[in-house]
């Protein structure tokens, strides 16, 4: 290697802070209407949670066991690949989740983007979103509100695939006989959320 080549291989590179670059990119993307999906994480008593927010509203909430990278892939494919880590736009839902876990909030009033749920499944989840804090409904109940009283099993599938847990409180749906049913985040989490809300369990 010649002296010239050695000098070319060692330019005086100023420090670049990747977090600052990402934050500035998100700010500009938002200003230019290119921030299709903003996402950020927050710590909760149930471990880290990721929230994904479009200009229309919260489109996805995920527990860490789902693997945030895999969830970001899913959102990129099914919503838009313009997905960036950004605090702005996720602030409201993160603040409301914080307040929910400290019993400072009983209902979420952030808009929901239903892009990831269609048809009957969306009907079931909309019915679920209307179950008040501290109360429960059965799979048959939410199926009935969605227009198919005999589709309790299908309602169970819709709830298992709820892309927006906690905000759409699928933990408030249990079996008619009082059994807990299932939960994407695991039954321990379902039990935790119901106890947090003061629900009496059988």
């Amino acid at each position: 290697m010649t002296d010239l080549e050695r000098r070319l291989a060692s330019p005086a590179t100023p420090a670049m802070d990747p977090a600052r670059v990402s934050a500035e990119l998100a700010r500009r993307a938002d200003a230019e209407g290119l921030l299709d999906v903003a996402w950020a994480t927050l710590d909760t008593p149930l471990g880290p949670i990721a929230v994904f927010v479009t200009p229309r509203g919260v489109v996805r909430v995920a527990y860490e066991r789902e693997n945030f990278g895999a969830v970001a892939d899913e959102v990129a494919e099914r919503v838009s690949p313009r997905v960036l880590m950004a605090r702005q736009r996720t602030d409201a839902v993160r603040a409301q989740l914080d307040a929910y876990f400290t019993k400072g909030r009983r209902a979420f009033d952030v808009p929901i983007d239903w892009t990831l749920v269609r048809g009957f499944n969306q009907g079931v989840l909309r019915a679920t979103a209307a179950i008040p804090y501290g109360e429960v409904a059965s799979y048959g109940d939410v199926a009935a509100v969605a227009g198919s009283p005999r589709a309790a099993r299908a309602a169970g599938n819709a709830l298992a695939g709820n892309p927006i847990p906690i905000v759409v409180p699928c933990h408030r749906v249990i079996h008619a006989d009082g059994g807990l049913g299932g939960y994407t985040g695991g039954l321990d989490r379902k039990r935790f959320l119901l106890r947090l809300e003061g629900t009496q369990l059988a």
């Binding site: 010239l4 080549e5 000098r7 070319l8 291989a9 330019p11 005086a12 590179t13 100023p14 670049m16 990747p18 670059v21 990402s22 500035e24 990119l25 500009r28 993307a29 230019e32 290119l34 999906v37 996402w39 990278g69 970001a72 892939d73 959102v75 990129a76 494919e77 838009s80 690949p81 313009r82 997905v83 960036l84 880590m85």
Partner: protein
């Protein structure tokens, strides 16, 4: 076809892209140029038809932004005198004229393809096959661009 979330491209490539741009436009303008590159990439991203070589695609955009930046600076006066209407104002680009014994100025004045090839070869330590892949040329063309650039730099720096 599915594209990865754009944030992953930023996480995987921003640091190296920045180094590439420092070589192409200098340390003072590199970060602005990086932002311009990323926002242009983000704008075009959903229209990409395949995710085969996202890295090469990013470097194509970065090189275009670097070329724009170098051209723009060449055209601009180095200082603006505003006598009589307040303190003299230095344009932002003036800060980029840091002393670097002429080598990096000479790099910036290379023809675009030679500059890109030289920066890839030495600043990023790529071999000719990798440079060819990123620039969309043959390995032989990459080698020729590097050696032509090097020849010219030797003349400029020894002058």
């Amino acid at each position: 076809m599915s594209l990865p979330p754009f944030q992953r491209l930023v996480d995987d490539h921003a640091t190296e892209l920045h180094r590439f741009l420092v070589g192409c436009v200098g340390p003072e303008l590199a970060e602005d140029c990086l932002q311009d590159t990323l926002i242009a990439a983000l704008r075009a991203y959903p229209r990409l038809r395949h995710a085969d070589n996202l890295r090469a695609w990013l470097y194509t955009i970065a090189h275009r932004k670097a070329t724009d930046t170098v051209r723009l600076r060449a055209r601009r006066p180095r200082t603006i005198q505003l006598d009589g209407i307040g303190p003299s104002v230095e344009p932002r680009t003036a800060a980029a004229e840091i002393p670097d014994d002429g080598l990096w100025t000479a790099v910036r004045e290379l023809p675009a393809k030679q500059r890109e090839a030289v920066v890839h070869r030495y600043v990023l330590d790529l071999d000719y096959r990798q440079i060819a892949e990123r620039m969309g040329t043959s390995s032989e063309a990459a080698r020729q661009n590097v050696s032509a650039g090097l020849r010219r730099l030797r003349i400029e720096v020894d002058r």
